[in-house]
């Protein structure tokens, strides 16, 4: 996909010796010129401000590209990476352009938006702990993890013979999540078993006790289970020894031995945010204010598939984005 550079003005503050107070104004003039070139009205161009936590991070960059795909480049972006931006300049720009929507990519961007007097609506994606943010009435957004239903549908589609799936979790953090997963699993004829622990020291013992009853382990984000890197490696090591595949939610786990990763597709997150922004700007309240991400990116470790003697549905291979051989 080609993104036209002239449609996008990327505002990155210069190093201190180059910075000048007139930069946002210059940027806006350049941007107005771009508007003229691309044929969009100036009023609509000023509607959206993107605050990007760090545009050099791939998933943030992809979300922004997805957003622009549906908004046709009608955005002004600030990269606020590592506090290298001038808060005063940003605040002045916000006051000047009065954006109707501020799209925050990542937690840091959201915290910056909160500190500005933004009159428009705030849209958030790719943020940590979005559940807390979702409670704010004026905030719209997209959650950060693939929904339980999407993961189970993909698992069932790709591995038709797998039926008993264990989930290491702490009740304190994931009791409700596990309840939802058990209910959703029943609709796909999958039995979800909770391997609950109260303390990081219990994880290995619990897994070793129950692993022979499992066809697969579903690795979910849980602070007790993921107490340390060693703890995570121990979990993957035990599963590998028992030839039990691990299903994970982030591509990073493909590198430590996950057999299947069902991750969020970042460009789709950006497109969802754009669709929300369009609704908000048309005063058409979206059906769901904070949405589940609907696009999935799937990685399959074929080496594990062979070593563990797993059955893969060949007609589901078209859903796989990346294969580790």
């Amino acid at each position: 996909m080609m993104i036209s550079v002239r449609n996008v003005l990327m505002y990155r503050p210069s190093p201190p010796q180059w910075r000048c107070r007139s930069l946002p104004i210059v940027a806006l003039i350049v941007w107005y010129c771009c508007v003229g070139v691309t044929g969009y009205s100036a009023a609509s161009e000023l509607d959206i401000l993107i605050l990007n936590t760090d545009a050099s991070i791939s998933r943030y960059r992809s979300a922004r590209l997805g957003f622009e795909e549906l908004m046709n480049g009608r955005c002004l972006e600030f990269d606020i990476r590592q506090g290298r931006y001038d808060h005063g300049e940003l605040a002045a720009t916000v006051q000047r352009i009065e954006p109707r929507v501020v799209y925050c990519i990542g937690s840091a961007a959201y915290h910056v938006a909160e500190s500005l007097s933004v009159h428009g609506d705030i849209l958030v994606s790719s943020a940590l702990r979005p559940e807390k943010i979702a409670r704010e009435a004026h905030v719209y957004g997209v959650y950060n993890e693939p929904p339980i239903l999407s993961q189970l549908v993909m698992i069932r589609d790709i591995f038709p013979a797998i039926r008993r799936i264990g989930v290491l979790n702490s009740r304190r953090h994931n009791r409700k999540w596990v309840q939802s997963a058990k209910a959703a699993g029943r609709n796909s004829e999958l039995t979800i078993t909770s391997l609950a622990v109260n303390h990081p020291d219990d994880v290995v013992t619990r897994l070793q006790r129950d692993i022979s009853e499992l066809d697969a382990l579903w690795f979910i984000p849980d602070p007790v289970v993921m107490d340390s890197e060693d703890a995570i490696l121990a979990i993957f090591g035990i599963c590998d020894a028992y030839k039990v595949p691990v299903f994970a939610y982030d591509p990073v786990y493909a590198e430590v031995g996950a057999t299947l990763v069902i991750a969020v597709d970042s460009p789709t997150v950006g497109r969802q945010a754009a669709a929300l922004a369009r609704n908000v700007m048309k005063h058409k309240p979206p059906r769901v204010r904070f949405q589940h991400p609907v696009g999935t990116r799937i990685i399959l470790n074929r080496k594990n598939v062979t070593n563990y003697n797993l059955v893969v549905n060949k007609h589901a291979l078209g859903s796989i984005n990346e294969i580790i051989r």
Binding site: M1, M2, E69, L70, P147, L149, S150, L152, V153, M154, R156, D157, N187, S188, D265, P267, T268, R271, Q272, A275, R278, R287, V288, Q291, H292, V294, G295, T296, R297, K314, H315, L317, G318, S319, I320, N321, E322, I323, R325
Partner: protein, 270 residues
Amino acid sequence: MHAKWQWTTLVFLSAMMTPSIQAASATYTVYFYNPESNINNFVALKDGFDAYLSTLGAFEFQPFSDKTDFEKALQSGMRGVVLVSSWHYRSLRRQFPLEPLLHGVFQDAGTQRHILCGHAGQATSSDIAGATIATAGSPTYSRTILRQMLPEATATATASVTFMAVPKDLDALLAIGFGVVDFAIATENTFHRLAEINPAEYELLRKLAQSDEALLPVVASSTPTDSNVMKLVEHFVKMPLKSDGEQTLNMINLDKLRRITDHERRLLKP
């Protein structure tokens, strides 16, 4: 002097022969582009096709994510075959003298349909104006297929639709249940697959319209009688006989490629 002449003659002959040797050993390319599905597993696809084809001759697989780039590559001198959706083939043959040679087969069928789905009991196809539709196809393809599925819808109504691209058909169907989109476009095969893997989610959806049957992707060439093109076609037909070959075809949602019949050739006429 005699030796010098010998050297000169040898260099001259070598220079004369080089182009023909180069031409004989030049790589033949499989140009791949499919706007009907949001295929973005290009690294895996290139690995898979190249692993199969490179052992059989000077062949390579070149996937494209962008229609313009794809067509530019063909314009700059096509050597080999294209593997494209039958919908795209129809428009492509207006620009390039392409002859269809093979077509894809999936679950014993050489054709497929796309369907428009909505929330059962809530959505009707008359609500299409201003709707958001999840689709794994390109916006151009999706708009064309939507017009075909809803001939009674006004041009204004179909033009006002927003297409939200998602990676796969299953994502598109599930997006309705999450309340993210109003409708989804997916293949009929995927809709039936959802019925098997999650009947509850399937029950939430209703098929509102369907497209005409269309041939699965086709392999075509502007030089069908070129011996290397003929070899390439033969290797494609034999691809499912090798386990790795079959798996690679599965990754573009095909089981095999078979020779096109006269009847199927007629289906490809505009």
